[in-house]
């Protein structure tokens, strides 16, 4: 059976049962929040502080109508960041590398922001298609361009998340294979490549966190335009 580098991204199955369901449930294992205590322990306090800081940061520009989305966005952020960071552990499967997951998250949320915009104030929603101060000659072209840019947002959101994670995982695989094979032939080069691998792992952790944040931030910006 030929092995390709992309086999790591196949959706895992066990006796034809999709394991992606279990990989998707794994964030739930790590975020236990049912507590009746007044002052919580260390882990929960850290989580509370960071979640409230994130919520304030994202929802400060949005008005009261946008605050209804707080639960949705914060839970989406926690979900994505946990999935991304868990995927960096050895042998684990990252569901966000599947376009099916990212697109099914991006499309409904983006569509919801657009529809809310059209429902609340159709004139203003349509006015987004034409930035202020454009020369009259450029108006037809710009309307088409702006419409395309709005239409392509869900695809961009989904592919951005998927491609960043996939590329990172692939690079880790490639460089680690290189280090493994080089240790017998050229040890010094292997040590350099190992240092590169260490830096790359740090980058991957950063990317995992940042991509989750960017996803949610862009959605909140689309909501800000439309709410």
């Amino acid at each position: 059976m030929t092995m390709t580098l992309f086999d790591q991204f196949l959706s895992p199955t066990l006796f034809k049962m999709p394991l992606i369901a279990i990989a998707l449930v794994s964030p739930w294992l790590l975020h236990h929040v049912v507590t009746t205590r007044f002052s919580s322990e260390r882990l929960l306090s850290v989580k509370k502080v960071s979640v409230s800081a994130l919520t304030k940061h994202i929802f400060q520009p949005l008005g009261p109508l946008g605050h209804k989305w707080a639960l949705m966005f914060v839970s989406l952020f926690m979900f994505l960041i946990t999935l991304n960071v868990l995927g960096l552990l050895p042998y684990t499967f990252t569901p966000t590398t599947q376009l099916s997951l990212t697109f099914s998250l991006a499309l409904p949320l983006w569509l919801a922001t657009v529809l809310i915009g059209f429902r609340l104030d159709p004139t203003r929603a349509l006015a987004h298609m034409l930035p202020q101060g454009t020369p009259p000659l450029l108006i037809p072209v710009l309307i088409i361009i702006e419409t395309i840019s709005v239409m392509i947002r869900p695809l961009a959101l989904a592919v951005r998340l998927m491609a960043n994670l996939t590329a990172g995982h692939l690079l880790i695989h490639l460089i680690s294979t290189g280090v493994f094979l080089l240790t017998s032939m050229m040890p010094m080069t292997a040590i350099l490549a190992l240092a590169l691998l260490g830096l790359l792992t740090l980058l991957e952790i950063a990317v995992a966190v940042i991509q989750a944040y960017v996803f949610v931030l862009l959605l909140s910006l689309y909501l800000l335009e439309n709410v």
Partner: protein, 89 residues
């Protein structure tokens, strides 16, 4: 102090005697709600013992993550066994 007689199916696993194991397994609630509550109880007990303590260290979560890594390895073994050293790939 004499213990009140408790039905076998409701005892905790550590208190079930070996001969009663079959009765215990047969009497558990295997409906979807029951299975979900089984997982929830187990998770709550694990959390309260290892993670939700005042000075919890990294051990509580580290055990969960290590278990997750081991389970992922077991599940992907079929796929991984082709990665072994061989002369012609």
């Amino acid at each position: 102090m004499a213990d009140r007689p408790v039905p076998v199916a409701e005892k905790r696993l550590m208190e079930v005697k070996l001969g009663e194991l079959g009765t215990w397994l047969g009497g558990r609630d295997y409906s979807p709600n029951g299975i979900v509550s089984m997982f929830r109880r187990a998770h709550t007990r694990y959390y309260n013992k290892y993670i939700g303590v005042k000075k919890g260290g990294i051990g509580g979560i580290a055990m969960l993550l290590a278990g997750y890594v081991v389970i992922s390895y077991v599940w992907s073994y079929d796929h991984l066994k082709h990665d072994r050293w061989r002369k012609h790939h």
